[in-house]
Amino acid sequence: MKRLALISAGLMVMVGCGGPSDTVTLEEPDSPFIAFNIWLKVGSQDDPQGKEGLAALTASFLSDGSTTQDSYEQILEKLYPMAAGYGYNVDKEMTVFRGRIHRDNLQSYYELFRNALLSPAFKQEDFDRVKSQTMNYLERSRRFNRDEELSKELLFSMAYAATAYEHPEEGYVESVRSITLDDVRGFYDAYYTANNIVVGVGGGYPEGFAEQVRADFDGLPVGNVTQPPAVDPPMPDGFRVLIVEKQTDATAISLGFPVSLVRGDPDFLALTVANSWFGEHRNSFSHLYQVIREARGMNYGDYSYIEAYPLGFTTQVPPTNVARRSQLFEIWIRPISLTAPGNLHDRTLFATRAALRELKQLVDSGMPVDTVEATKQFLRNYTVNWGSTITRRLAYAIDDEFYDYPGDGYLSAIRPGLATLTADDVNAAISRHLQYDNMYIVFVTADAEAMKQKLLSGEPTPITYAGEKSAEHMAEDELIASFPIPVREENITIIGINDVFERR
């Protein structure tokens, strides 16, 4: 059991080790809260062909279903006075169930949480309810809620075509429609096994409690799960563009390409610094934000990523438990609309060109020493926010297990790692991992055919402003407006919104 504890400075340290790390504990005796994080080594990559979405539907069913002890209604009734609940997250390679409770209610809460995972009742009516809610999401909400989130999912789907990462975690309309209760039961039997589970417990739990939790989960049968090989997507050959046709007044844009590094790799922190300067998530520190939003007021924000960051619009801190063995470099340009007179597609392409041009400058010129130092200073303080709650600290500790992260884990390694990082390290990492010649781009916009023709024409796409701009600003705009996006007609695909994620 691996034991982590919080010392007064807020740092996590290992205080003891022994046995297989099938349990992660993060003891904070003074905390009135106890957090749970149960990690199953299974994800959407394990969905059978034609049943894409099965891992997610199984987790959803367990999280929102009856147990052999209690009906779903009874569970809700028992959770209600505690103001508590539990939930799940299914990503490409991970499934986690998370919960948090006030210490006053620990035992009664834990029983419900444990039963949900260990003794599901597999009731047809629970399955019907959960599946119906999922189908509604697939057929409607995913397509008609947030175009920007949809464009990101499509980017991943393009970049990981023909791999186990291709399909969205929630699956396709047709594949989920075909899933039955027997499929869910079979998936549960295969993957929810004692030796495929890491138990995480954190906060102010009593002596012996973590051992009790582990022993309970050891009551599951032992299984035989083999991890699939890591996916290894090829770099696109030049530019590949997907345009989704949708009646909308704004264009969602995502672009990116595979990178061959993950958390724990020698270049990871160096590229984190480069990426933070270039596009720190939802932060005006982001250079892309400065160029596209701050100086030009074109949209709400512009960011970049070297790790998957699903549902970025809902959070300012990185999502946890979305650990993957393959990652993309990704640029998120928030929806572009007619914020000044002109043509929507011109503005869309101008923003895209601005992002590509900045990427080229980063790759070609690297980062100067003072910029690297300023970014290190920013990250040194800013990353402290990433572990602000027991739930998040525990989730990071679980991710450390996934990545086999050495020492005291990723959060603890950031500050010392930054201290020794040099501009040369950062620039070497940029050279090794970033490029601008090969790119996947997704647009969700109206009149896709006109967008395609504009893109193919190579014509400049200048924009206008509501106010005066300096001569220097306008000169740079001219360079941006004609920055090349070298794409051939056969590499542009158009699909209608109602066909998005209908089937593989």
Partner: protein, 442 residues
């Protein structure tokens, strides 16, 4: 779905708990009051080394009384990041500090926050007091920011939730400014670049010490924090001008409308009533919030029937949290079969009738009080969350003293009080029903 889908995500009622012997609020605090009317609550709570610095402006879209100026409180929130003479580049300084900082605007509030290491307390007090008292931005910068606002407007304009919210407010209100959303009307958002002078008057009237409350939560020394606050905020000149917010006249009869959403959706039925203003001491106000949970919450009879047993709706959500002025309370539900909408509406009406006629089950009432108490306590984990939990009492009363009072009142609520609240507020004449259907799907 990827969101951590909690069985019970959060109680709809915000700012809640049940009374304990000496009050529910578990932390010590110190109140600092200045002669100019500025108040700061200093709360020692949360993890070692961190502070949350939360400035709460008691102005929101509620204060947008002039025609053509909807959305302006939110716009102004953006301008507060545009620098001062002393610190022209706000972003540069906060990024050096590595602060997590942002802001948000609602009907009744505009809130600015920084979460940072406590070693930067002095710098943050200086920075924040400076921008609240001496903001300075030019017209070109103002016009550029207006573009970003329109971008923010457009990215969510067609999400079904916001689209419906706009229509419900439009139908339900005749005069009060709650009739428009916080982001504002599209035409007003498009006209924002021309409103530079108005923005200056907005700052002059509302960004005054009497209208702003600071909540500093985290790991710091009282003496040092108080001295810094006195030093940096004392010269801020008072001069708040309260807006003349039109009172909503009594609604004479039920209002009803069907609206056609230009995307794909199942029918969404939104049933709304006019509620009282938030209060920590008024039993009818607190009982109304309890009523929402008891009659329509995730543990209610109708929730079980429609969502779990019969699965006729995708969700049923009660929004019974009250606001600074009398606002809407709502029951929203997404109906699986479009032909079933009238029957679902009858089921909801039956639950309303039941709440008006019968006394709530005592266990249900006790469980609800417990849920509200733990909902509050479970939220007090980090310095930021502690400070955020103070937002509601501050916007409604100007201070945090109301927290303990609210939970004492809650503790005294009886089943008869809840029935009385239902009889008073869940009345047909004050009802607004909007049905959102998919365009062309009828």
């Amino acid at each position: 779905m990827r969101v951590l889908t909690m069985l019970i995500l959060a109680l709809v009622v915000a700012g809640s708990a049940a009374a304990q012997a000496d009050g529910i609020f578990p932390f010590d605090y110190r109140l600092v009051e200045l002669d100019n009317g500025f108040k700061a609550y200093l709360i020692r709570a949360g993890a070692p080394g961190q502070i949350a610095y939360v400035s709460i402006v008691r102005t929101g879209s509620r204060d947008e009384v002039e025609a053509g100026k909807s959305g302006f409180a939110h716009f102004f929130e953006h301008m507060m990041f545009r620098g001062t003479d002393k610190y022209p580049n706000y972003d540069l300084i906060t990024s050096r500090i590595g602060a997590s900082r942002n802001a948000f605007t609602g009907n009744d509030l505009t809130v600015y926050y920084l979460v940072a290491s406590n070693e930067y307390l002095e710098q943050i007090v200086d920075l924040e007091s400076d921008r609240f008292s001496s903001l300075n931005y030019d017209e070109p910068g103002f016009r550029t920011e207006a573009g970003a606002i329109l971008g923010e407007y457009m990215q969510g304009a067609l999400s079904p939730g916001r689209w419906l919210d706009e229509r419900v407010r439009d139908l339900a209100y005749d005069r009060h400014t709650y009739g428009h959303t916080t982001i504002g009307y599209e035409a007003d958002v498009r006209a924002m670049p021309e409103a530079y002078d108005y923005s200056l008057s907005f700052y002059r009237r509302f960004y005054r010490p009497e209208n702003v409350v600071l909540v500093l939560a985290g790991d710091f020394e009282y003496e040092e924090a108080e001295q810094l606050i006195r030093q940096h905020y004392a010269d801020w000149q008072p001069g708040y001008e309260a807006p003349n917010i039109p009172e909503e006249p009594r609604q004479p009869a039920t209002r009803r409308q069907t609206v056609r959403y230009p995307g794909r959706t199942l029918p969404v039925l939104s049933i709304n009533y006019k509620a009282p203003a938030w209060s920590a001491s008024n039993k009818m106000a607190v009982a109304t919030e309890v009523l929402g949970e008891v009659a329509f919450g995730s543990n209610s009879d109708i929730y079980r029937k429609l969502v779990i047993d019969e699965q006729r709706v995708q969700y049923l959500a009660a929004g019974f949290g009250l606001a600074r002025d009398p606002a809407l309370i709502s029951i929203n539900t997404m109906v699986v079969d479009p032909d079933d909408v009238p029957a679902v509406e009858r089921e909801i009406q039956n639950a309303v009738n039941e709440a008006r006629e019968a006394l709530a089950d005592q266990k249900m009432l006790d469980d609800t009080k417990s849920a509200m108490k733990y909902g509050f306590l479970m939220g007090l984990e980090t310095a930021q969350n502690v400070a955020f939990a103070m937002i509601q009492p501050v916007i409604n009363t100007g201070g945090i003293e109301a927290v303990n009072e609210y939970y004492r009142t809650l503790d005294s609520i009886t089943a008869a009080d809840i029935r009385e609240a239902a009889r008073t507020y869940l009345v047909d004449s004050a009802k607004t029903v909007v049905l959102m259907v998919q365009e062309g799907a009828e």
